[in-house]
Symmetry: D2
Subunit: 453 residues, 4 copies
Amino acid sequence: MASHPIVELTSASSWAMIEDKFSPYAKETLAKLVKFMLDEVFPAIRVAHAQLPTDYDARWKTIIPVVADLKARAKQLGLWNLFLSKVHYPKFGVPLTNLEYAVMAEVLGRGGSLASEVVNCSAPDTGNMEVLARYGSPEQQQKWLVPLLNGEIRSSFAMTERFVSSSDATNIRTSIRQEGNEIVINGHKWWISGAGDPRCAIHLVLGKSDPNSSDKYRQQSIVLVPANAPGVKVIRPMKVFGYDDAPEGHCEIIYDNVRVPLSNLVLGWGKGFEIIQGRLGPGRIHHCMRSIGCAQMALDLMIQRVTDPSRKTFGKYLYEHGTVIADIARSRAEIEGARLLVLSAAQQIDKYQAKGALKEIGIAKFVVPSMALQVVDRAIQSFGAEGVSQDQMLAATWAGLRTLRLADGPDAVHIQQIGQRELKRAPEITKRNTEIKKKEKALFEKYGIKAHL
Amino acid sequence: MASHPIVELTSASSWAMIEDKFSPYAKETLAKLVKFMLDEVFPAIRVAHAQLPTDYDARWKTIIPVVADLKARAKQLGLWNLFLSKVHYPKFGVPLTNLEYAVMAEVLGRGGSLASEVVNCSAPDTGNMEVLARYGSPEQQQKWLVPLLNGEIRSSFAMTERFVSSSDATNIRTSIRQEGNEIVINGHKWWISGAGDPRCAIHLVLGKSDPNSSDKYRQQSIVLVPANAPGVKVIRPMKVFGYDDAPEGHCEIIYDNVRVPLSNLVLGWGKGFEIIQGRLGPGRIHHCMRSIGCAQMALDLMIQRVTDPSRKTFGKYLYEHGTVIADIARSRAEIEGARLLVLSAAQQIDKYQAKGALKEIGIAKFVVPSMALQVVDRAIQSFGAEGVSQDQMLAATWAGLRTLRLADGPDAVHIQQIGQRELKRAPEITKRNTEIKKKEKALFEKYGIKAHL
Amino acid sequence: MASHPIVELTSASSWAMIEDKFSPYAKETLAKLVKFMLDEVFPAIRVAHAQLPTDYDARWKTIIPVVADLKARAKQLGLWNLFLSKVHYPKFGVPLTNLEYAVMAEVLGRGGSLASEVVNCSAPDTGNMEVLARYGSPEQQQKWLVPLLNGEIRSSFAMTERFVSSSDATNIRTSIRQEGNEIVINGHKWWISGAGDPRCAIHLVLGKSDPNSSDKYRQQSIVLVPANAPGVKVIRPMKVFGYDDAPEGHCEIIYDNVRVPLSNLVLGWGKGFEIIQGRLGPGRIHHCMRSIGCAQMALDLMIQRVTDPSRKTFGKYLYEHGTVIADIARSRAEIEGARLLVLSAAQQIDKYQAKGALKEIGIAKFVVPSMALQVVDRAIQSFGAEGVSQDQMLAATWAGLRTLRLADGPDAVHIQQIGQRELKRAPEITKRNTEIKKKEKALFEKYGIKAHL
Amino acid sequence: MASHPIVELTSASSWAMIEDKFSPYAKETLAKLVKFMLDEVFPAIRVAHAQLPTDYDARWKTIIPVVADLKARAKQLGLWNLFLSKVHYPKFGVPLTNLEYAVMAEVLGRGGSLASEVVNCSAPDTGNMEVLARYGSPEQQQKWLVPLLNGEIRSSFAMTERFVSSSDATNIRTSIRQEGNEIVINGHKWWISGAGDPRCAIHLVLGKSDPNSSDKYRQQSIVLVPANAPGVKVIRPMKVFGYDDAPEGHCEIIYDNVRVPLSNLVLGWGKGFEIIQGRLGPGRIHHCMRSIGCAQMALDLMIQRVTDPSRKTFGKYLYEHGTVIADIARSRAEIEGARLLVLSAAQQIDKYQAKGALKEIGIAKFVVPSMALQVVDRAIQSFGAEGVSQDQMLAATWAGLRTLRLADGPDAVHIQQIGQRELKRAPEITKRNTEIKKKEKALFEKYGIKAHL
């Protein structure tokens, strides 16, 4: 058992549960991916960081050499677009289930944003490719999906707005209106990931096309906006705990009377809400599995640190102090439980589509980021001041994970939905327990007991 | 999907992960078990409680009528000895895997101690039957295992000692020594579950037969002691919080020069430690799954309570107040994660024996009871004062769960073991990361960058 | 510093904060109380327990000898009715502030219910005496308050009702109506503490006298009902985690056409809500400080246990294992913080009456029981199975503390009220921050900077 | 009561506990400080930030204009050097107790690092001034303390070393040795706060002067090293999460054969450990109270946000969703409890010196940062993505607080010390309880009961 890559990298207990669900192709791909990561990608993380200029402006105009080299290499190895579930195969992507890719996403998560990018599995490109594969017109697919699948361009998804509580998508104010053969877009967005990147060629912009519709889930549409269209103004990068995440960034953007042809409408008028719903299920699983990879990587670093003889204090290894061993045990248990939750959600998607897996996805969405934050935080603590610094990936990883408690709906929204969904079981439970009570009463009579009910 | 019993009772997301691992026999048995529980067993819980006298002495001499009736019924239905893993089949038990029985154990857990007892799956009998099936001589099996399997007698496992920290089994002081053809036992035990029951016929007693052995895991032996042997003195029942758990109880017992024939030695001299190790793996899984059943039952009761229109306060349903919905969502998520951990451990046992599943068992052992306590505690809170009273099963359930953080090794022991096991990964992690650092250095050179290492 | 009783029993850091607020009388009384507890009361706790019969009926008809003896002794020492704040002095009680009594209540809390009872400071008598002292007519005071103050009788407060969510007092259904010169009471109560006691002579019963009043806080009245009045039917004791708390108990009671003279009305028609509000402030502080005493006692026991050489496992003291030292440190910190919160609330009451201390009381009410439960739970864990048994006070203490998260309003009610109270600060905060923003804008202009606002 | 500044800014319940301990001067100074902060300092925070260049190099060479202006203003108002406890008055500082300054430090904490700096109360200057005031020679005081007190220069404290676990000060490797009339320093430090600042003129450097001393707490000495001495090489700023904290920074420094005159030795050879011990007590209180100010500020922002009508989602205010009100209530309670702990520690220092307050200081040290992190994290969550960005102070505040769980000893060290200190109470507890058991036994005999002991 010990020789399998999933075990090697994760010491995962889950393998016994899922092994029989993996195809030979998936097993082989996983092994190849692990080897590529260990041999070529993980060693390149800090190199890529060093190749990013410190100069404020230059940071946003750079194509990092080692990234470009690794992308070519990954494509050559067939480790490419692994995220695209096999429902699209063979037209697009590879024949992997969500469950199979989930395990690979954990491996990618160990390598920060670089690892996902070099195999062309980075958000927000992944979700955007999924949208175009599922809902794009042949023309749209030719023009934007193909170069995205080839890794020649990158993309953004422009939903969140400044001055607006965008976790309620019906609050969106960006205006999308038809004028003759054109669509005119006006709006003020922010936190648009990837929009700072010189390779970013296309924005999928969500706005209101029919603000007066009585059905508030039909008011929105999505339009394809070329990044270089006149009126697209990238204002500034937003920072996350001090990080600017250049060159991609998370940008504030004003769409000022931007005009695109009518054919850039995706799927149809009023289909915006439907599209973003469909976009989210697998994407959330990817995020969750990458987060678990972050947690696992942090735990490994912590174990390395606390057993390092050069780090002894007061004559003892770090692991001999205080609650370190208990912290490690709890981290291990939390990772195992969370991983099983996500794998179970992936399996549920494979069996019943995203719509039949809403509960499992929702639980994973609010459980995993908090879990991973906690594990990474414990690792930070074991590294002392070095843990919060640029010399370890831990602090940057923590900051990235922290945004996942806010992105795609804050924790509270998902917790509320899961709670409400549970409340829907009330009639069934009440009926079952009422039936039991009735039989209980009959039993009391049968045995001639006066109960104090 | 909704019609399957596992879903009906648990709203379980795990089914998608394990369905293909269930045999037709297991599916059929599970369905039958659920029906039996709903129709006959759950309605009998409070009846059994009412049939137990309030009189202090009579409580310990009673065979509860409804329990006897249900046992006959279960045997007739073939719902009997389900716990005995199929490694013993067809000699003993039924052809179920640990994974398959685990799901059934959750169903049993919803029905308190009664449900397990009526299908002859109660601790400590289950562990004792496992021991006798695995290590007993043909004579021992004939004399004790057969009536236990038939549910004609019950049994105890006498390990824990008063005045001694028994979580370290090498501390045991009970003396077991050979005198001619007899074995003489002297010792002071407590917390011996089941020993108060009039049906309890046999004790498996752990003691030191060779206290001076240099191998401290070979000092112990286990002997079969008939409950009515001269010198077996049951002193008093220990209470758990305010519960005496009559008629089984958890008793303080003095073994005062008790003599049994040499043939009552189990497996051989010095085999005590080996036996208790083998006894614990599946037993812990059973406890864990029953605990998850407790949690699930409590959550269901909570949902029923907070949606009950007669329980409105300040004009609102209880679920509209405070953090109730969030508490329900978190309980749901915690149950799902914990259940997957236990199922995964059961699957690991089926694949690699208990010895190959120590990590998974250990994690389940310390995660599940705390999780279940928390979920039950939230349910108690939703019931107000009624929640802590005899009118709901919740408080008694909580008290029973609380002992699981102490029994079979307190949490701290398992946490420590899991932590230590993780630390053993240190050399592998360090080697892997050192390898990566080496390649990283080569990459820095290849790209001509001076790193600040 | 080390010689002061508060330090001796609590190792309290708070003394530096409050010493200058203690009168010489209070210091002397505190010292005397500590000595009495250590020398006479704490040694009697298990004796009192042993003097309670095991026979089910006899438990409720017993006056425990050692309790009676200690009460006589306490009265003789002048350690009597310490709870009655000095606003009633010299007419009733003793000249102690709430802050001064709070420290004494912590000492009492270390001794379970016995300690409070022997100095005539037991709930619900304390609250009832406070009500009669504040709102009783001279005749009512003569007939009921004087014997209560003398410890000759005991009393109950009948508010909570079965089948009703009584945490919303407007849900109360018990009917109180005038018929000529009499008041007729009909209702179904439960959890009426003390009503099982043979010494309980008087019930203060809350019911609806004017259910149609437009002011729903004027619908209730409180009536004095002699325990032996015809129609007062004590149905059964409610149990708390298996404990019946005999002889006082928490009883289910039916008031079936009970008739009392009109002069038994307290304060006036429709004054019920006003009375219960006034009753709760100091009472909550008493409960909180006793809870802190429980926590402190549990921590002390834990420290004794983990340093006990006879409890070593695997060759180490218990404190050398796992997270024990960290658990002790956290318990210490949590007790210190909670104690300061309660002392601060007591001081606030002394300065601004209970009405001016609602925030402080509310915070203490929801913080302290959870804190104490956690500390006691850790201590239980350190004692192994003995911790949940009748051989240590810990389990019974835990069960009693658990009810405090439900009694006098469940946690959620207090948390909600504190949260709402904080929200009332919103206008002030918003105004302040708006003012700062305005000045900030002026500063940006003054320094000639274009801000990205 | 509502008009007092402490209440206005903190809605503090603690005021009733401490008001009588404030001198008229302290009350007046506090009022003046609050006014200055509200009117002039808080509005300048973002201005100062905007005046810091984005250019990477320029950031470290800037004296921010608004800071310089505010410092002049503060000096003029007499709001200057408030931190220096009145034990140094009138020679240095102002006549304030630690308790009085603690309340002011909370106010400063609301204003980030700017607020402390403009009243010359910034770490590490404060600790360094304390060292020089207490241990400096008249010549050292004249040359370095006076300009520091005047705010003309700034300073660093160089203790932490790269490649060394510096939380154990005996691990320090920097060499300090005498050569004739000079001292030669060689070492590799990092995380030296303030060393990036162009105004930083002096480093207090800790190193080993007698590495072979048998007393490992006498091996260290502290030397004054001018920032511009030859051989002082500032390598790079360390980042905290993504923040560089320019212009002060936390720098990596190599001392390469740095030579200073013998008179730059502080206090004497081998006195290094003694000095750092004395330096830490009040400094920890300052950090804690500023952290409480951070938490209070964050809670205020959260309240403003969740009551903002423009932030409604799904038709409701944010505070009407999920657990927001409960989160606010808990934050309020946690802040109150933590504040009382720190004030109590400050009072303990005032009464018994830092040495007599080690327990109180240690508890505050590990309780407060975690508490504040949690409160700030909840506030971040309420702001959505804006909460993690540069547009609110919250994320930067969180990152700063996170370092406090590591600086001046990581949490684990303090938790361990408090736990060990508690264990020292074991003999006293055991003796007390043994005494009680003895009396209990006598009572059992007196009443003629056979106990089951």
